[in-house]
Symmetry: C2
Subunit: 362 residues, 2 copies
């Protein structure tokens, strides 16, 4: 069966080995005569799956014991509401500080403003978010309940290479498009969250990793199923959770371990991204849109010298089994999302195609 190279930003390509395993046992999980999606979230078999997810995440992500792992309904964007609902009350000023590095941070800030005082303390909007803005953390009000960043910016192809030291103010990071793609020090953060549909599994669920002292501060108007404490107390099973997503994540985590874990996948991701960026930087026809010092290794954004050729570029790419290379409408141009599941051969095929396109059309 011919699998395309899928450069879509998400829902994204998953490892073929994972997909094959899920397919193989789709009607008959562990010889039960039923599918994993047809069994109770309170069955011993599902209990084993969610426990396995916990321990694999803790191992692969090096998550310290004083952090809790939650599986929260609604994807990353539901967290734009859940974060302020759970955290804004941490300090009396009910203040949250945002660094705006793109569309998602802007949306998160607007949503938080519903529940407290939002300070947008730095932004790269004036250069269409092509970089991470300079930010002197000495300007951070220590009375902020939290500081918020988007660690990797899917639309613009930028990332924070190093994270700001926010001292006693908990740092909250949306890591949707890069969690477990590179090594990070979880203890730098108060909360890390990520929608599953880039590196972790299918869509509809978010992973939330939260320092335990931040668990019990929800506003009274917090809906029960957005209250982190409820998730923590009931092992994310206060109601029927998205069992398929948790199951698929458990398979993805097994695969990631087989690849050698996060350190190894990061090395591989660096090689993959370099292969594409190196070509772009040598090309007279293609140019990167993100500032070179702030480039993401997950999302490579680029333009063609002649934008009129973009639709031909995308059409020809599709014919070469290179799928979903269109850039986000906020940026234009092209974008190659090369998450953990994208093999080096996909990046090679992309560069070969780009080289040939430049030679014949450029």
């Amino acid at each position: 069966m011919n699998r395309i190279f899928n450069f879509g930003a998400g829902p994204a390509m998953l490892p073929t080995a994972v997909m094959e395993k899920a397919q193989q046992e789709f009607l008959n999980y562990k010889n039960m005569g039923a599918s994993v999606i047809e069994i109770s979230h309170r069955s011993p078999e599902f209990d084993e799956i969610i426990n396995h997810c916990d321990s694999m995440l803790r191992e692969l992500g090096k998550i310290p014991d004083n952090y809790k792992i939650l599986y929260v309904h609604g994807g990353a964007q539901m967290q734009f509401s859940a974060i302020p609902l759970n955290l804004i009350n941490l300090k009396p000023a009910r203040k949250a500080t945002f660094v705006l590095t793109g569309n998602w941070a802007v949306k998160a800030s607007k949503e938080a403003a519903r529940y407290g005082n939002c300070i947008n303390i730095a932004s790269s909007e004036d250069t269409n978010f092509d970089r991470i803005p300079e930010w002197d953390t000495a300007t951070l009000d220590p009375e902020s309940s939290y500081a918020y960043i988007t660690s990797n910016n899917t639309l613009y192809g930028t990332r924070w290479h190093n994270f700001p030291d926010t001292h006693d103010v908990p740092l909250v990071a949306d890591m949707t498009s890069e969690f477990l793609s590179r090594e990070i020090d979880v203890s730098q953060f108060g909360i890390i969250f990520a929608g599953l549909q880039k590196n972790l599994g299918p869509a509809g669920l978010a992973l939330v990793i939260i320092r335990e002292d931040l668990l019990n501060h929800a506003l009274p108007e917090t809906p029960m199923l957005l209250n982190y404490k409820v998730y923590e107390e009931q092992h994310s099973l206060a109601n029927t959770n998205n069992t398929f997503a948790i199951y698929m994540m458990s398979l993805v985590l097994d695969w990631l371990k087989e690849q050698g874990g996060v350190k190894k996948i990061e090395e591989n991701n660096n090689l993959k991204a370099s292969h594409v960026y190196d070509f772009i930087d040598k090309s007279d026809f293609f140019s990167g849109t993100a500032h070179p010092d702030h480039r993401s290794i997950m999302n490579v954004t680029f333009n063609l010298a002649d934008n009129d050729l973009l639709s031909d570029f995308l059409k020809n790419a599709l014919e070469a089994d290179l799928y979903a290379l269109k850039g986000h409408r906020a940026v234009g141009g092209a974008r190659a999302s090369i998450y953990n599941a994208m093999p080096m051969s996909g990046c090679e095929a992309l560069v070969d195609f780009m080289r040939e396109f430049e030679r014949t059309q450029g």
Copy 2:
């Protein structure tokens, strides 16, 4: 491949034909070389799926044009918050009226009390929810923003056979465990909602059917992704939705149409339920727990004359490939959930097993 008869209350058995189709195209949806869970929620292929869901639901459920169809994150229980957040403000008294027919209605009422004034106007708690309580709707305050019922009570095996006429007060119904299992008149309701994981698909998503005049009343503190208006305006794709669940639902709806639609499946469901209830009523060993006038055709609850034999009953049933017959802890005893996907042969196998158990152990 041997499929068990799965009597679990949810996540529940799905039609084998649906599961086989999903398995077959799991790695390669419509010859794209990618899975349906790996493509964008904004792709033309997914657009076709969600549009198909809409039109099939409208056709099978006879949903009038002035009702909107929404696919909302978080399952039915997330609606326990979303309903008051979107509706309590409809009238100045901020009052909601609940009929308590079980655990889920009680939970929904408690959650609504976070946002307004809850009146629990009738309850069958004193008989452990073995029936739908009498309720004279003349007692309904017309200043209520809405009246709320659970149409089928999964835990207790009861259902509303006829729905109350609440006149100008919108009637909200949690139909999680019975939507599309029997014909209903949608125009009797302001909102119908249902978690997918009983009759419609996998877990993690709720279907919300809402009369359009009720769409635009959300409280200011409503999280963006619980605001019905946001879902309506963006065709449930304000963020990445649970694409797998929507896809699976589209297959289930196709299957339901092939079975002859809701009228036909209701006839079948009546026959299935009668087969089990008739046996129970003739048995000296088994007895139904729900009041005969209020019995559900989706969840059949029953007790054994000697409760000490329950664990043997469940163990032997499992050995006979009759899975998940344990009653909910709030009721005890046994429960057979016989949703649309359960064939008559499953009910026959259950009755044969029960007859034999009674003969040898009773």
